[in-house]
């Protein structure tokens, strides 16, 4: 126990102004970005516009993941569960009961939040930590996948095709494939998710969640009901990722158990945040911007492979290889992610 060498001289900060909080800056940045992005689908060629929609879906999934795993510190390896619940809830309501996808999105959010709270309760009740927690979340997503694959209730491995409508409709969330409306809807959803996450972080609940992440016992000792706020965070996180799943179905018009609950979906929720910066507001968005186009680049490459690699024509897998490589490099070289590193270098913290 060494004492501080600094003399205990001027010990007061009275009169020094309190530091400014970042929240308003974040909200302004979100608003500016949203306005700037509105004309994007009118400028981009259709192929690029669909990449932009994919970027937004990635961002939305990962904003959800980041809330629980980044800000909440509960590393989820099974966000496919919530993405899939969102996708299946909306598809099931639409195909089997002719319910509007808008209501389907809400239903998906509610079911996903409830499921997350249930898993969270069990995991926290039985004090699962670290590897055990990650494996438990993974197991629940896999269980849903297996159940969906073998249940007549949701059409087994076949999944659902969204029936095509004769004309475009906002109520049924269906437009011409090249319509900019898809981008605008995805943009609106992503912006809402970002705003919600900033407001949440600013709120009492968000502050308590971060405290509980840093030190659960210390948080409890100052009077924070840790379990309640962790569950709340998980539920919110699941609901946001469920929105991505529900929108995915309406955009791609198709869902099956692997696309919904497969472990690669969980990875797609993790990757943008890791690339951009875990536990930062902007990390998932920046990561998604990096990831989205890669998909397109590799697809083009496999359609016209370079000389010497012709045998790869029509094959798949290259995109995921690139993701995997990126993941390893980022974790080893930039563990705070792109935005996290920049923020650390350029700003004080």
């Amino acid at each position: 126990m060494t004492a501080t060498s600094a003399p205990p001289a001027p010990e007061t900060a009275a009169g020094r102004p309190l530091p400014r909080l970042p929240w308003n800056r974040h909200l302004i940045a979100i608003a500016v970005l949203a306005v700037l992005l509105v004309p994007l689908p009118l400028i981009l060629p259709p192929a690029q516009a669909s990449v932009a929609v994919r970027v937004l879906i990635f961002a939305l999934m990962s904003i959800g993941w980041n809330m629980m795993s980044g800000f909440g510190g509960m590393f989820s390896f099974g966000h496919a569960a919530y993405f899939g619940i969102g996708a299946y809830a909306s598809a099931w309501l639409l195909v089997e009961h002719r319910v509007s996808p808008w209501i389907g999105i809400l239903a998906g959010m509610v079911v996903a939040a409830a499921f997350a709270a249930l898993i969270g309760f069990l995991a926290l009740r039985y004090k699962l930590r670290g590897a055990y927690f990650a494996l438990a979340t993974f197991a629940f997503a896999e269980m849903l996948r297996l159940w969906a694959t073998n249940s007549d209730f949701v059409n087994r491995a076949v999944g659902y095709h969204v029936p095509l409508r004769p004309e475009a409709s906002w109520w049924w969330l269906q437009f011409e494939p090249s319509s900019p409306n898809y981008f605008w809807v995805a943009l609106a959803l992503t912006v809402v998710a970002l705003v919600v996450s900033v407001l949440y972080l600013r709120s009492r609940a968000g502050q308590f969640t971060k405290a509980a992440r840093d030190d659960e016992d210390a948080a409890a000792a100052v009077g924070i009901p840790v379990m309640r706020y962790k569950l709340l965070t998980m539920a919110l996180s699941a609901a946001i990722t469920a929105v991505a799943g529900a929108f995915y179905v309406q955009y791609f018009l198709f869902i099956d158990p692997d696309l919904a609950f497969g472990s690669s979906v969980s990875i797609q929720a993790i990757l943008p945040a890791v690339i951009g910066g875990v536990a930062t507001v902007w990390g998932p968005v920046i990561g998604a911007v990096v990831m989205g186009p890669l998909n397109d680049v590799t697809a083009t490459m496999l359609r016209n492979p370079p000389a010497g690699l012709e045998f790869l024509q029509g094959r798949s897998g290259l995109d995921v290889i690139v993701y995997g490589t990126l993941l390893i490099i980022i974790v080893l070289v930039l563990p705070k992610g792109i935005y996290g590193t920049i923020r650390q270098r350029w700003f004080r913290r």
């Binding site: 590393f75 930590r129 670290g130 055990y132 494996l135 297996l146 159940w147 094959r315 897998g317 490589t325």
Partner: protein, 342 residues
């Protein structure tokens, strides 16, 4: 003034490793836990009886038990590798199944070239060992001691790369490796393929070899020392970096051997490894993370659970019952059947 133990850290009191009073009284791994073995055996007997009640057919149950035990031995071998890596390097290796998949394709390629599938062991085991060394030294060493999530993500990245490289080069169409002279062998009223029986025997032999290596050789002693306390091991002159690399490689070699052994039993696809990976995780948790003998027993239990689950939940994937067992174990006995120890 302050004692070295972090006593403010009350969470440690609820830590999974110290939960069990039995473990505290009898330090892990010394005495044979007869009582627990008896309980597990009793549970298995009950499960078998219930399966009989449910199906009403003796043949079905005997068949399930035979198939379950046989494949369970292979699960055990795979899980031994995984649990060894966890016990020594503290890494949850998500890439374990993809090493198995690599060995499957390697075996396929060698069989295509005319080699007997089991002779492929002579290639797949050293190849996976070598790859294990390279991966550990080249990639994972840079993340030793970092938060668990980092290592999880890195091994996940490795598995994505391997699995999709296989997909890229071999395509998604399923392949198979027929075993020359394979036939059905009657076991009581049931029938098991010779390839399945040989895989079981081979897996048990290799598991036994691994056990001997860990218990009887200098290398094994060093590995166990590092697992118990790596700073301590370093102080007595063990080069932990070498041990980490060798242990990881031993683990991947187990996956490689298992890959060759099961090649005649499974459809060979890039995703086949992922299935084994999932099962291996379940087995590892069941056996107690880091507990090598536990993994072997856990493998048999999970093999049985998978097959009997098919009887309880007809129409559902057998994997579903594996996961149900998994979740129950995670919540009710997170330290596994035999607690954690190497």
């Amino acid at each position: 003034m302050t004692s070295p133990a972090d006593q403010g850290h009350v969470a440690a009191a609820g830590d999974v490793a110290t939960l069990d009073p039995d473990e505290a009284r009898a330090p892990a791994g010394r005495a044979v836990p007869w009582r627990r073995i008896a309980v597990i055996t009793a549970l298995i007997v009950v499960a078998v009886v219930l399966a009989y009640v449910r199906s009403g057919s003796g043949v079905v149950v005997v068949q399930a038990v035979a198939t379950g035990v046989l494949i369970g031995g292979v699960y055990g071998l795979i899980a031994m590798g995984l649990t060894l890596i966890f016990g020594v390097l503290d890494i949850v290796n998500f890439a374990h199944g993809s090493f198995l998949a690599l060995a499957l394709f390697l075996t396929f390629g060698l069989a295509q070239a005319g080699l007997h599938p089991y002779l492929a062991l002579a290639v797949s085991v050293p190849a996976m060992f070598l790859l294990g060394v390279l991966v550990q030294r080249g990639i994972l060493a840079g993340a030793m001691g970092k938060p668990l999530e980092n290592q999880l993500l890195i091994t996940l990245g490795i598995s994505l790369i391997i699995e999709n490289a296989l997909l890229l080069f071999f395509g998604a169409n399923p392949r198979s490796v027929p075993l020359p002279g394979d036939r059905g062998v009657p076991i009581f009223e049931a029938v098991a393929n010779l390839s399945r029986i040989l895989a079981f025997v081979g897996a048990l032999l290799l598991a036994g070899l691994l056990y001997l290596l860990l218990q009887r050789t200098r290398l094994g002693t060093a590995i166990r020392a590092v697992a118990a306390n790596d700073t301590g091991a370093q102080l007595v002159g063990i080069d932990t970096r070498v041990i980490y690399a060798v242990t990881f490689a031993l683990g991947t070699a187990c996956a490689g051997a298992a890959g060759t052994l099961v090649a005649p039993l499974v459809t060979i696809e890039p995703t086949t490894g992922a299935l084994f990976n999932i099962v291996a995780f379940v087995v590892v948790v069941l056996g107690g993370m880091g507990n090598v003998v536990g993994a072997l027993v856990g493998g048999l239990v999970i093999g049985l659970a998978e097959q009997l689950g098919g009887i309880y939940l007809p129409g559902q994937s057998p994997l579903l019952s594996v996961f149900i067992v998994f979740v129950l174990v995670l919540f009710l006995r997170p330290q596994g059947l035999f607690g954690r120890s190497a």
